[in-house]
């Protein structure tokens, strides 16, 4: 029995060693690959991987750049959850924004890409530009500060006053009750981004003969076509689009800062990222900010894992 076990272990480690030797040989044969990869890998490690490590490390310290970091255990995290009411507000806001704009923006991108795909070619090109433009138009969202301006010269107020729906201008961007809906509207307006482009391209790449085959096999309307043929062949694009919309849903920062001010009334437009900015670049409490960043990293990675698991089931 015991002999058998050592035999098994021996064989197991022997196999591992073989695998390792094989891998090492392969690596040696492909030395030049590492040379090609090196410049990118070094920079990527420094500015995308190291930051995660750094933020985990500094998350456990008090650090303000000037003094050396002082280890304080999990105090930052405890403070975040138990004492920082503004952080809880920001989590709530980010959560609301992410839960609404993430899935809705994602589904809208997909639906519009699908609809646009039905258009004739020349019209399709125009439609893609119109839908994609808001997300690349730099700080064009700042025009909403004129549209939603709080006095009677604001566009929305003027229309509503003229039509008689309201009798005094509404403070769209300063009244905490309206800030969130306005922000969500603006973010949705900008949500046709890279994922949307990927969908548009994906639809064009689907083999037309699959639809004909589907027709013969009894697919009878566009919705059945979508579910049984289109969605399964778009899975890779769907995952890419999901990653893109997670990114934009959790990284809301510029829009609230430009529209609602920084800080906003009653912190009504405070998101996790603006909170992080506040602590990092206004108060230079890098340790505390790092703790926030760590949490954000964690949530985003979990979200991606969850979505790729959910997409596995699409169309089956």
């Amino acid at each position: 029995m015991s002999k058998n076990q050592t035999g098994f272990a021996g064989r197991y480690f022997g196999m591992k060693a073989d695998q390792f030797r094989y891998g090492w040989q392969k690596a040696k044969n492909n030395k030049v690959c590492y040379l090609f990869l090196a410049p990118y890998a070094i920079l990527f490690f420094t500015f995308f991987i190291l930051p995660i490590g750094t933020s985990i490390f500094y998350g456990f310290t008090y650090y303000n750049i000037l003094e050396p970091a002082r280890f304080i255990g999990v105090d930052n995290y405890v403070n975040l959850v138990l004492q920082d009411d503004v952080f809880l507000t920001s989590v709530k806001n980010t959560f609301v924004i992410a839960v609404i704009t993430g899935p809705v923006g994602y589904i809208l991108s997909f639906m519009f890409a699908w609809f646009i795909n039905e258009l004739p070619k020349w019209l399709r090109a125009i439609a893609v530009v119109i839908f994609y433009a808001p997300s690349i138009a730099g700080n064009a969202y700042s025009i909403f500060s004129i549209i939603f301006r709080g006095d009677a010269y604001g566009y929305l107020n003027a229309i509503l006053l003229n039509l008689g729906f309201i009798d005094a201008p509404m403070l769209w961007l300063t009244n905490p009750a309206y800030i969130m809906p306005v922000l969500i509207f603006v973010i949705l307006w900008m949500s046709m981004g890279t994922g949307f482009l990927s969908f548009v391209a994906g639809f064009q790449g689907i083999d037309k003969s699959m639809y004909e085959a589907g027709y013969v096999d009894g697919v009878r309307n566009r919705w059945q076509e979508l579910y049984h043929i289109t969605l399964p062949s778009m899975k890779p694009m769907l995952l890419f689009g999901a990653v893109m919309s997670i990114t934009s849903a959790f990284n809301v920062c510029d829009v609230p800062r430009a529209l609602a001010g920084f800080p906003s009334t009653d912190y009504a437009a405070r998101t996790v990222v603006t909170h992080l900015f506040d602590y990092g670049f206004s108060r230079f409490e890098m340790g505390y900010a790092s703790a926030i960043a760590t949490l954000l990293f964690l949530v985003m990675i979990l979200c991606k894992k969850f979505i790729s698991a959910a997409l596995e089931k699409v169309g089956t």
Binding site: I136, N251, A289
Partner: protein, 403 residues
């Protein structure tokens, strides 16, 4: 490989027992056979018989008999797509009447009334598409498109409004007396800035150009080996990059600031350039696109004795131009829009967008100029996208993430 729309194809011409190798080119008024030794022109009106050819069809052997009874036999292994103008003689041939035509003629002779088929208002629908559904989609797309475009149109029209119209009640969508005063005011304000305004422009152009170029080269090199070589760690590395697509500049901002301050990079261009070199989206797009490149191309070059760098530079890179453009555009977009307010402190190194945002933040008196700024900033990426849309979509078609 058969070309879809070839007007020319190389092959052999059989002429009086001699074989000539060359190219057959179909032009609008004549076909030409071009070989090293001679060029034979075949004007279409003189073509008497054209065998083996249907209009628009692919032919691998074509026999052309001219009116002077010379016969040319072409064998074209790649086929040649022949268009109506080439075989117009062929089109004018007497045709046997079809069954329908015959019935029609008989009915006419008997004096029966012929019911013409009703013309359809719309083209025949594709299978699985209902008219109502299509109409609904068109109407909805039109409405949403208006909603999407409205703020951008509004931005442009505000930039063209004179001051009194900007504060008119009720506000108008389109300016009654469009003027470019706001833009000229903007130039005046620029001229009064503490640091010469050209400096901001120069900074942004420098950062955008260098950042994009470096990113393109470094990311393409990495993408090339990740796409075309199987080496330990490659797949893992790409998985990490895919996850890192989610780490935007905001989340990594704080730790990056700490890292850069340790590397003494704060307040230098490097703080903007180096992270831009390593942007995950560029590598991701490039790698996915390069996977579609035929491996045979690289194998062939290897057999010819080309080293990896030569393969990369003179074979792979020229073949992935759409991906280049896409990477360049994504990179230009993000670098052009960067305000870099957190890592750059000296005024002389700040970017154009930062300076423009300062003008924009000038309060109510600068409303017109702020709109002009918005237009200036948004015009660049949108114009670039409009010009390169088809290439970008070609690249995006391979953007999916496969698990």
């Amino acid at each position: 490989m058969s070309n879809k729309n070839n007007y020319k194809s190389s092959g052999t011409l059989l002429l009086g027992g001699k074989k000539l190798r060359g190219e057959l080119i179909a032009e609008e008024r004549k076909a030409c056979f071009v070989s090293k030794k001679q060029t034979i022109e075949l004007p279409y009106p003189e073509i008497a018989v054209l065998k083996n050819v249907r209009n628009g069809g692919m032919a691998s052997t074509i026999t052309i008999k001219m009116q002077d009874q010379t016969e040319y036999v072409f064998s074209l292994p790649n086929g040649l797509k022949v268009y109506h103008y080439m075989d117009q003689q062929w089109d004018n041939r007497p045709r046997s009447m079809s069954r329908a035509d015959e019935l029609h003629r008989l009915a006419e002779m008997r004096g029966e009334r012929i019911v013409k088929p009703r013309k359809h208002l719309f083209k025949r629908r594709r299978p699985n598409r209902s008219l109502g559904g299509d109409l609904g989609i068109y109407i909805m797309l039109a409405l949403v498109a208006c909603l999407m475009a409205f703020p951008l149109v509004f931005a442009v029209s505000s930039a063209l409004k004179p001051l009194d119209e900007l504060f008119r009640f009720p506000p108008t969508i389109f300016p009654q007396h469009p003027t470019i005063d706001n833009f000229s005011d903007l130039i005046v304000t620029m001229g009064q800035s503490w640091v010469p305004f050209s400096r901001y422009i120069l900074n942004t152009v420098f950062i955008t150009a260098v950042g994009t170029f470096g990113h393109l080269v470094i990311a393409s090199m990495a993408a090339f080996v990740l796409a075309k070589y199987d080496f330990p760690g490659g797949r893992f590395f790409f998985g990490v990059v895919t996850t890192a697509l989610m780490f935007s500049g905001y989340v990594t901002g704080i730790p990056n600031y700490v890292i850069m301050s340790k590397l003494n990079m704060i307040d230098t261009y490097w703080a903007l350039l180096l992270p831009a070199f390593a942007a995950p989206i560029g590598l991701f797009m490039m790698k996915q696109f390069m996977e579609g490149l035929p491996t045979a191309l690289i194998e062939a070059a290897k057999i010819d004795g080309a080293k990896e760098f030569r393969i990369f530079w003179s074979i792979v890179m020229p073949n992935v131009k759409p991906a280049w453009l896409t990477v360049i555009i994504f990179s230009v977009q993000s670098l052009w829009n960067t305000s870099a307010s957190t890592v750059i402190y000296s005024e002389a190194k700040k970017t154009l967008v930062f300076a423009l945002q300062q003008i924009q933040a000038g309060g109510i008196a600068r409303t017109g100029q702020a709109a002009a700024v918005t237009v200036v900033v948004m015009a660049v990426p949108i114009i670039i996208f409009v010009l390169s849309q088809s290439q970008i979509l070609e690249t995006m078609a391979s953007s999916g993430i496969k698990d």
